[in-house]
């Protein structure tokens, strides 16, 4: 609002043309545009300038669209119920100016509405129809009327078959990006036809389709194909790929993860023509990444990123990968339990250019690997090493010294201590730091981070029980850009931390589950000063009550998600939440102060609700018609019947965790 004040003082806008104002408006972040209420001229200028809309309620669309005549991008993800009527309103009011529409989270519309949209909006080039699980071929045939469509997402349209895809393929010749993920009714014929008819295709997502290698013959003939996603295509096997003769020079990204029947023979023929491939995803591949397997990568020496998550990897295989693809920038070996120090060291030694490394849950790795990584990959930007519990605390000292460019560091469940944190604090551009379940760290270490890493955006201290208010206050002091913080189960944290965190005005996500000392006063401090707060988890904070929620309802108008299970909240607090317009998720389980009528009123009041997590005992008490009504409005219910469990000792909890994981 500051801007508005300045304007009023000097009134320089009389001298400016609309075009110049538009240029200024381009530079203002979209959520700070309430200046339009200043005067009529501002109102008009803003209405003319705005191109993209993300309305919270479909009901207001006619008004909004009448105001914003130049709407090109319409995102309806907040509108669970978009009827045919709404779509025809959009078609009539936007007409040819509309370029993209997102209906991925919406329901209740049908072919008639889509048809009006397709006919009226002649320049519609992008449409997202994901999750339209009831969409049939006849409805897809209607989509084919949108002749200028370029990007089409049909994820999880399970009723769709080859016939519908065939209609789209014939109708929309300009398509360059198609996502058919989880369209389990679409097979080889539909995909093949799509490839034959839409020659402009650049990106094709065929994940989890019952296709075989046969349709890939047509797909790989596409001249412009850059991205091909085949995740979980069990039908793609070596035999059907054997006769593959193509030369797909344009292919840049291939995702063959979870293709259970694809071995190195099939992969070799798949990669034989793709000389320019940059990204390869082989996660959860059924075969062992051995020397043989790595040899299939011979043709793709320009590879920049490879993912081998969940594969069984041998040292020879890793070494061969290092030799063949020395220009790798990203490597993911997450959950590759067979990775050993020897294999990783021999690989990492070759990859001087490595930027991102993921060795989550590689439990056999020790400090040797970390030392090697630190020594050879000085350009490392992201390192994820959750649960590498054999790595000694000394190994982390080297990371801070050698990898100064680190921006993302995941050390969840590691042995790092305060000295390690001191070393890491010298990574000045660090923006995301995860220290969950690090039982060796204390306030001292955290204050090093607070002093050093002023760019920190995300901090995860889940169950790091050594942290108290002192540590949090130093973080709040030093990291003013903090957006996400998780202090769940840090039992020593009190309202003081919350008050100090309220200095971080950009805070969006705040999780303090299971912090028994937090009260409504602390919450109020955050609510008042952190205007962008969107996600809030207050579960198992027994001293949070209605007064906290009332403040929240008054100040946090951008809140989307809240969990107030196992708190002292009653009907009054819950009902006040209806004041927050964009609230989408509510979880209230086991709050004794709630009555069925209060919950019903609150649910009705929150018009944009998408998910409600309630206790199962409420289900028979709520009127059935109400539940139906809410479901039709787009709200999904999740009924929980677990009772509050006594909190375990953190040390014991970790031991229990280690028992479960071999």
């Amino acid at each position: 609002m500051k801007k508005v004040k300045q304007i009023q003082i000097s009134m320089p806008f009389d001298l400016l043309s609309e075009e110049l104002v538009f240029i200024i408006l381009d530079l203002i972040p979209s959520d700070l545009k309430s200046f339009s209420l200043t005067c009529k001229w501002f109102y008009q200028v803003e209405a003319k300038h705005r191109k993209s809309l993300k309305p919270l309620r479909a009901e207001y669309l006619p008004r909004i669209l009448t105001r914003y005549r130049n709407t090109a991008d319409l995102d309806l993800t907040f509108c669970p119920r978009v009827t045919d009527y709404v779509l025809s309103v959009v078609g009539c009011l936007c007409g040819p100016t509309l370029h993209s529409i997102d209906l991925s989270r919406s329901g209740s519309f049908s072919a008639a509405g889509l048809l009006r949209l397709a006919v009226k909006c002649v320049s519609l080039s992008e449409i997202d129809l994901s999750n339209a699980t009831e969409m049939r071929d006849a409805d897809a045939a209607v989509v084919a009327e949108a002749r200028s469509l370029q990007r089409l997402k049909l994820g999880r349209c399970k009723m769709l078959t080859d016939m519908g895809i065939g209609c789209i393929a014939v109708g929309c010749r300009k398509l360059n990006m198609v996502s058919l993920k989880w369209c389990v009714g679409v097979g080889d014929l539909g995909v093949g036809l799509l490839a034959v008819k839409c020659k402009e295709l650049r990106s094709l997502d065929l994940s989890y389709l019952p296709i075989t290698g046969n349709c890939l013959h047509d797909v790989l003939k596409l001249q412009h194909l850059e991205e091909l996603l085949l995740e979980g295509c069990f039908g793609v096997d070596d035999d059907t790929l054997k006769s593959l003769t193509h030369d797909c020079k344009s292919l840049k990204k291939l995702d063959a993860s979870s293709c259970q029947n694809l071995t190195h023979r099939g992969l070799t023929s798949l990669l034989s023509g793709a000389a320019c491939l940059q990204r390869l995803d082989l996660a959860h591949c059924s075969s062992v990444i051995s020397l043989d397997f790595s040899s299939s990568l011979k043709k793709v020496s320009a590879l920049q990123s490879i993912r081998l998550d969940g594969c069984s990897v041998t040292s020879d295989g890793l070494k061969a990968i290092g030799t063949l693809c020395s220009s790798l920038k990203e490597l993911s070996l997450s959950k590759c339990v067979t990775v050993t120090d020897e294999g990783l060291c021999s690989l990492v030694m070759k990859l001087k250019d490595l930027r991102k490394l993921d060795i989550t849950c590689c439990r056999k790795l020790s400090g040797v690997s970390i030392t090697q990584i630190a020594n050879s990959c000085s350009l490392l930007v992201s390192l994820k090493m959750e649960s590498c519990s054999l790595v000694s605390r000394e190994a982390f000292w080297l990371i801070g010294q050698k990898c100064r460019l680190l921006e993302e560091l995941d050390l969840t469940d590691n042995e790092i201590d305060d000295e390690g944190l001191k070393s890491i604090s010298s990574c000045l551009s660090l923006s995301s730091l995860k220290l969950g379940i690090c039982l060796n760290i204390t306030d001292k270490g955290i204050s090093y981070i607070g002093m050093g890493c002023s760019n920190l955006r995300e901090l995860d201290l889940y169950r790091s029980v050594g942290i108290t208010d002192i540590g949090i206050s130093s973080i709040a002091q030093g990291c003013s850009h903090l957006e996400t913080i998780n202090i769940s189960y840090c039992k020593d944290i009190t309202d003081k931390s919350l008050v100090s965190l309220s200095k971080c005005s950009l805070l969006q996500t705040f999780e303090s589950r299971g912090c028994p000392n937090i009260t409504s006063q602390g919450l109020a401090a955050i609510a008042v000063r952190c205007k962008r707060l969107a996600k809030l988890d207050l579960k198992k904070c027994p001293f949070i009550n209605d007064s906290g929620l009332l403040t929240l309802a008054h100040f946090s108008q951008s809140l989307k998600q809240i969990n107030v299970s196992d708190t002292a909240v009653t009907d009054v607090g819950l009902l006040s939440l209806a004041n927050i317009g964009c609230l989408q998720n509510i979880a209230v389980v086991n709050s004794s102060g709630l009555s069925p009528s209060g919950v019903a009123a609150a649910l009705l009041g929150c018009g944009g609700l998408r998910k409600a997590k309630l206790h199962a005992s409420l289900r028979p008490l709520l009127p059935l018609s109400l539940i139906h009504h809410l479901e039709n409005r787009g709200c999904a219910f999740l009924w929980k019947d677990n009772t509050l469990q006594a909190e375990l000792d953190p040390k014991y909890w970790k031991l229990q965790l280690e028992d479960v994981v071999p």
């Binding site: 009527y85 329901g107 049908s110 006919v119 409805d139 139906h628 039709n632």
Partner: protein
């Protein structure tokens, strides 16, 4: 004797008339859809052919040829090859032109008898040259054909009537001419070229013959390559073939279709016909002892048919039954109509029965009306032809779009019930509705109809059963809604609504 100009003209003329002819015949033979499609893809060439028809002199022809090829060249695969081909042809045509000029110049002198031989030779030379040019032209254009088909994005619907709908079989025409010219070559250029229009006459013959060849390919018995003379050729007369009975009782004259039935019948005429020998199959009896008989093969009595023994590529028929079926299928009217689809016709009743077994089971439907029994066949068809789309059967459309389809057809805008149907109908509806000026105010009762409190009065209750209801409300109410929606014109919208912003 004609000048080369005329000859050439005739050549083109005849080829175009032949085109028409073949177009007609093929219209009977081919599925309508496919022919329409060809016509559609070839449309851009139409103009060129018209030009060619109009062209009178050779200069023009060569010019047109070049134009034609260059026009197509834009979509050629390899322009360089094309260019070299073109310049080669240009050269050839120029040479020929010079030669003909020479001939024309000497036109008055060739009356003498002794010069006739010389003139003949010259003409032969020219004809051979012309033939080679034509072959060259066709092979060049023929190599283009797939790319032409591919690249020419076509008019929206294949259903538009084209003036030159006979312009279909480019490829086949090419084959014809090519085969014809081959024939010429086979004869070593010693054919009687002093006939006025030798090429044309020959072509027509070969054309007719070829048509039968194509038809006959349906019932070829493959793999039987008996050397001529190793079998005995029998030829039944037409009446014999079409006669309902082939075996007649020598006593009462009753006719039978099968010999076995006759033998059964004979038993009634006396005990002598009841013996095992009399009842046994006559052939079987003779085989074991006697020498192997000469194999019998049959010839079709229809002259010009490939199954006729006078045809140069004669292929015999194996049995009498084959003869009958072949003759009925190929040379007789198709008098049996399918009682289910009322479109398919057959001349052999067994064919009808086979068809009726499967008729109506072709559930895979294309927008052109062609049906397929297998999905992959449909998709192959769609991949091949531009503008054809899979048609979703009405049964599937019904739960969601039935109402709209009905509306569309009731307004008479939708006359193809087998297709998605409501597409066109409702699209034009929508257009009509927009054209209407706002009949109602911009104020609609959004809040009234969608506010949470009115949930019990609305028909929300039904929604959970059909998550995507299609026209849950009646048709009229929907149309009213549309009218509402359209009435948000910029003029009345801004002023009234702008005050109360959300």
């Amino acid at each position: 004797m004609e000048t080369e100009d005329d000859l050439c003209q005739n050549n083109w003329g005849s080829s175009s008339s032949k085109l028409q002819e073949q177009g007609f015949t093929s219209q009977q033979k081919w599925e309508d859809a496919s022919i329409l499609d060809y016509e559609m893809t070839m449309e851009p060439n139409l103009q060129v052919f018209d030009q060619i028809k109009e062209a009178s002199g050779q200069d023009n022809i060569s010019q047109v040829n070049v134009d034609f090829l260059q026009g197509v060249k834009a979509q050629a695969w390899d322009p360089r090859t094309m260019l070299s081909n073109l310049s080669f042809m240009e050269q050839k045509i120029h040479q020929l032109q010079d030669l003909v000029h020479l001939l024309v110049g000497r036109g008055g002198q060739v009356q003498g008898r002794q010069d006739e031989l010389v003139a003949q030779q010259q003409q032969q030379l020219i004809t051979t040259d012309l033939t080679s040019i034509i072959i060259q032209l066709i092979s060049t254009a023929g190599s283009l054909l797939p790319s032409v088909k591919h690249n020419m994005s076509t008019a929206p619907g294949p259903f538009m009537g084209q003036p030159g709908s006979a312009m279909f079989p480019y490829a086949r025409e090419a084959n014809n001419v090519a085969s014809q010219s081959q024939n010429n070559n086979n004869c070593g250029g010693c054919q009687e070229f002093d006939l006025p229009k030798p090429v044309v006459a020959d072509e027509r013959d070969s054309h007719v013959v070829e048509e039968h060849e194509m038809k006959d390919e349906d019932d070829v018995e493959e793999g039987e390559n008996l050397p001529p003379g190793s079998y005995e050729i029998l030829q039944l007369e037409k009446e014999e073939i079409l006669a309902p009975h082939t075996h007649f009782c020598t006593i009462c004259g009753k006719g039978f279709k099968r010999d076995a039935n006759l033998r059964m019948h004979m038993r009634g005429h006396g005990d002598e016909y009841k013996t095992a020998a009399a009842l046994a199959k006559p052939n079987k009896e003779s085989v074991p002892g006697s020498e192997p008989m000469l194999i019998k093969r049959y010839s079709c009595p229809f002259f010009g048919c490939k199954r006729n023994k006078d045809h140069k590529k004669f292929q015999p028929l194996k049995t009498i039954l084959c003869v009958k079926n072949h003759y009925k299928r190929t040379h007789c009217d198709k008098s049996f109509t399918c009682s289910r689809c009322h479109t398919k016709k057959f001349s052999v009743i067994a064919d009808l029965k086979t068809h009726e077994k499967h008729c109506g089971k072709n559930k895979w439907l294309c927008s052109c009306g062609t049906t397929f029994s297998r999905k992959d066949k449909l998709f192959g068809h769609i991949a091949l032809f531009q503008g054809h789309t899979p048609a979703i059967p009405l049964e599937e459309t019904k739960p969601s779009a039935g109402a709209s389809a009905q509306r569309g057809s009731s307004e008479g805008e939708n006359n193809n019930p087998g297709m998605v149907g409501f597409n066109l109908g409702s699209a034009s509806n929508a257009n009509q509705e927009t054209v209407q000026p706002g009949m109602m105010d911009g104020k609609i009762s959004f809040e009234e109809s969608f506010s949470p409190l009115s949930f019990d009065t609305c028909n929300f209750g039904g929604f959970h059963e059909f998550p995507r209801p299609m026209f849950d409300d009646s048709e009229s109410s929907f149309q009213m809604l549309i009218a509402n929606a359209c009435s948000f014109s910029p003029r009345n919208g801004v002023g009234s609504v702008s005050d109360n912003i959300i």
